[in-house]
Structure formats: C-alpha cells, structure tokens
C-alpha cells in the first residue's frame, strides 16, 4: 500500500524523461543506421555507411579535428585563467565569496546569444574595438577581428569561464584546511603544499569544470555561428546544416559522433584525474 503511493511520485517525472529524452535519443541512433532518403525522413535499408563515410572523408575529419583543436585551446585557457581566479574567490571571506559567486552566476543566466552579440558588437568592423582604436588614431583600416577562429576562442572562453571557476572554487572552498596545515607541519613550502596537496585534492572540481566546458564547447552552435561566421564550420554546424537539408541519417550520425567525442573525453578525464579517490575527511 505504501509503495503504491510512492509510485505516484516516481511515475510522472520518469515518464517524461523516458518518452521525451531516452526514446528520442535512441530513435535518433536508430535513424543513423539507415540510408538517406529524398522523400521520407529516412530510407528503408540499414547501413553503417553514415559513420564510415565520415571516418573516410577528409572534409569531415578536418572539421572534427578543427573542432577538437578549438575545444582544446578553450579548455587550456579556461584552466590556466580559471584556476587562479577560483583560488582567489575560494580564499575570500564568506560574504565576499558569495558576492563573487553571484557576479559569476549572473552572466550564466543571460542567454548565450546575448553574450555572443556582445562580442560581435566589440569585434565587428564598425564595432567598439575598431572604432575606439580608430578614434585614438592608432588605426587606419578596421581590423578583421570577427569571423576568425581566435574570435571564437575568446568569445567561448569568456562565456564558459564561470563554469570552470565555480566548479574549482566550490571544491577549493570545501577543502579542509587541516590538510594544508598537516602538509606544512611536515615541512612542505607553500609551493610544494599547493602542488602535492591542494592541486590533487581539487581534482574533482577540475574534472567537473573541464567536462562542463568541453561539452558546452562542442554544443555552442549559436556562439560559433555568430562569432565565427557562416564559413567557419565546426562539427555542430554540420549537424545543423544536415538537419536543415533534411538529411536525417547524416545528421543523426554526426550527432552521435559528437556524443562519442563527449563520452570519450569524459571517460578519459575520469580515468586521468580519478576524482573518486579524493574522498574522506581530515579527521
């Protein structure tokens, strides 16, 4: 009797997720195994050609390579800039830390299209950077800042940086100070304490921040299109193009390639950093 009542709690949300999350994704995978069709959503015959065509085609491989390269650079920048910022925020007294967290959270609530637009307004030919430099007399002809890979990197990096900072800062703030004190009592200098104690113990924060940034980079269609321009295609742009061209099996296969990249990265990250071993308390 008691379990029947509890079933009412579980059934509705589970139903929503199963029908509108699990089923569509499985269906998409199913479609990726079919040949294309001009009249229907997808053809009748089962085939692996959608995937093999991608692996063999240098065009797609270049795009995937470019996607991963840009993602790697963005990740690197977010880590290099994000860690010191996270450290700074984590060391703040509680009230200021809450304020800093709020300042970091606020941009995440603003739609990415607005944030990308901000970079467009900054970097375009008649944008702020160019007109300011021109007005200051430092420039004659406007620089082509927009529609370059660097623009995409800078824009995406600043959009995703808060995720990295918040992830790492939360972990650092939760670190038991006694670990650091124990290290110093054993003779470790501040630098060595950081390298051998703080850094490894912040692995969970680094892992979750890195995963978030990587996943979001792969999916950031709007930013990539607005800041990178219509000719700079990354993997996610190909997915969008295939959908608008009604090439569903191709779009599906590309989508699962993206998913595979995400999963591979996740697995690699978890294996590398092994955040699970950082459990327990200083007591």
């Amino acid at each position: 009797m008691r379990s029947a009542w509890r079933w009412f709690l579980l059934a509705p949300p589970l139903a929503l997720l199963l029908v509108f999350f699990v089923v569509p994704v499985v269906y998409l995978f199913w479609v990726s195994l079919h040949a294309g069709s001009t009249s229907e959503l997808y053809g009748a015959s089962l085939t692996l050609r959608n995937y093999t065509a991608l692996v063999g085609d240098s065009f797609y491989l270049t795009i995937i390579g470019r996607t991963l390269a840009i993602a790697a650079v963005i990740l690197g920048l977010c880590l290099v800039i994000g860690y010191p910022v996270a450290y700074f925020v984590a060391m703040l007294p509680p009230r200021r830390r809450m304020l800093a967290t709020l300042v970091l959270l606020f941009p995440l609530m603003v739609s990415n299209v607005v944030r990308a637009y901000g970079w467009v307004a900054l970097l375009e030919r008649r944008g702020i950077v160019n007109t300011t430099l021109h007005d200051l007399g430092l420039l004659d002809a406007p620089l082509a800042l927009l529609y370059t890979p660097s623009a995409v990197v800078v824009a995406l990096m600043t959009i995703l940086l808060p995720y990295m900072v918040i992830s790492i800062a939360n972990t650092l703030a939760g670190l038991d100070r006694r670990y650091l004190e124990a290290a110093q009592a054993l003779g470790a200098s501040p630098v060595r304490t950081f390298l051998h104690v703080t850094l490894p113990l912040s692995a969970p924060g680094i892992a979750s921040g890195t995963l978030l940034v990587f996943l979001l980079t792969l999916s950031a269609y709007v930013t990539i299109t607005l800041v990178g321009g219509p000719r700079s295609k990354l993997l996610v742009s190909m997915i969008y193009d295939s959908v608008t061209a009604f090439q569903w099996p191709r779009a599906a296969a590309l989508a699962f390639v993206l998913l595979a990249l995400a999963l591979a990265f996740t697995a690699g990250m978890l294996a590398l950093l092994r955040p699970g071993r950082v459990q327990g308390s200083a007591r």
Binding site: L14, Y27, L28, V85, F88, L104, W119, I239
Partner: protein, 264 residues
C-alpha cells in the same frame, strides 16, 4: 602582506571578471543609444530602441512566447522534479543511484543533440510546435528543481516526517503539512533556475521553433544572422537581462542569497 602569487591571482580575477562581464554591459549600453549605430563613448541615452522593440510585432510576440513558455515549462518541470526528489530523498541502493543519475542527465547531455532528436521524433509523430517546445524545456528544466528539492529534502531531520506519522498524519497529509512547508525554498529556487534556463535556451529552440512560434533568443539570433547588428537587438537583449535580474531579486528577497548560491 601580498605575495607575488596573490597579486597575480587578484589581477587574473580582475581581468577574468572584466572579460566575462564587459560584453554584457556593452549590449545594455548599446540599447540606450540614441543613434542608429553604437558609439563609444555614447553621446546620450535614449529609449527609442525599446519603443521600437515593442512596436515590432515579431519581437513582441517572441517575447510573449518566451515568457509563456518559461512560466509553463518551469512550473511543470519543478513539479515533476519535486516529485522525483521526494521519491528518491530517503532511498539508497543501486536502483536509486541509477534513477538519480537519470534525473540529472539532461544537465550534462548536449542539448543540441536533444533538440535534433526531438525534432525528428516530433516530425515522425506530428507534434504541434508549442507543445513540442514546451516538453523539451520541461526535460531541460527538470534537473534544476530535482537537485534543489533533493538537497532540501535530504537536509530535513527524518524524524520530522515520522513525528507527523506518529501523531496520525498519513503520507499525503505528512507531505502537505510537514514536508512541503519545509522544502519550499528548494522548490522556489529550482523553479527560478528552470525559468531562467528556459527563457534563455537556444539549443533545443533552434530546432523546435517554427513559423509564428519563435522564442526571444531565437528571434535575436535570426536578426543577427540575417539583418546584421541592429540596435533593436540590444534592446531585446536588455529586456531579457532585466527580466532575469528582477526575477532573481524577487526570489532572493523571499529565499535568501545563501540558498541560491549554495543551491548550485
């Protein structure tokens, strides 16, 4: 006394915060520009672009749709997320862990793929546009309510519900009279996150909007793609930002800042 390390960290923080916040400030500033294009420093302030925003039919209807969509999807998503959280609050074991991962999954799953998958499904079964979009946003928004309510419910003293039962309250009355009054801040902050996410959501709306049924972010995106950088977009963006600020301020008054920042 400041070390080289701490100076560097403070400098990095300043630079980082500037990089993160400046683009947004620029957009807001541009919205008040009196001229046809953005000048920096601005010669004055004007509301003309906001007036233009409300004059344009497609902008107005996109804004209205976004608000409706966010209200509806946040409410449904939070109710469902609350139910799931209450179910899992005191459960352990492998099945409970799997379920918990499932309910959090939409947070980490690339929403662009979800958008593609849902569009395919909708085309196959013939789903009306608004309903399809609404359901997509419910899926995307449910993890927020789920997480915040789960944290609230797990923070409750388990004896409280048992005390209710020992005094004669059945499961439903215990839920309504004991549990809900104590977890409502979690419910409210979950609702807030779901609203904000829906209001600014792009990746599923990209695929699931259609002629006549567009959200504000997608409308802004189309304008930028096809009509260049018009300042009415800046006004549209500022309105989006303003709505969020107001909402967060109102909920913060009710629930308190600590809860919002800790809920993440």
């Amino acid at each position: 006394m400041p070390t080289a390390g701490s100076v560097l960290r403070a400098a990095a923080t300043l630079v980082a915060f500037a990089l993160i916040v400046v683009p947004i400030l620029i957009v807001v500033l541009a919205a008040f520009s009196p001229s046809d294009y953005f000048q920096f420093p601005p010669p004055g302030l004007s509301m003309r672009w906001f007036i233009e925003f409300f004059r344009l039919d497609n902008m107005r209807s996109a804004f209205a749709l976004s608000v409706e969509l966010a209200l509806a999807s946040a409410t449904i998503a939070t109710i469902l997320g609350t139910l799931a959280a209450l179910y899992l609050a005191r459960r352990g074991g492998m099945l409970a862990n799997i379920l918990q991962s499932l309910f959090v999954a939409p947070l980490v799953f690339p929403t662009i793929i979800l958008g593609v998958a849902l569009l395919l499904l909708y085309k196959t079964i013939g789903m009306p546009v608004f309903s399809g979009l609404l359901l997509a946003h419910c899926v995307v928004g449910m993890p927020y309510g789920f997480r915040t309510v789960l944290a609230s419910a797990q923070g409750l003293d388990p004896s409280l519900e048992e005390a209710g039962q020992s005094l004669g309250a059945g499961p439903l009355r215990t839920l309504v009279l004991v549990t809900l009054p104590l977890i409502w801040p979690g419910v409210l902050s979950g609702w807030l996150f779901a609203f904000i996410v829906s209001f600014g959501e792009l990746n599923t709306a990209l695929f699931l909007t259609g002629p006549g049924v567009t959200t504000l972010p997608i409308e802004i995106f189309s304008y930028l793609q096809f009509q260049g950088s018009q300042l009415v977009i800046a006004a549209a963006s500022s309105i989006q930002i303003a709505l969020i600020v107001i909402l967060v301020a109102v909920v913060e008054r009710i629930v308190g800042i600590a809860r919002i920042t800790r809920a993440r």
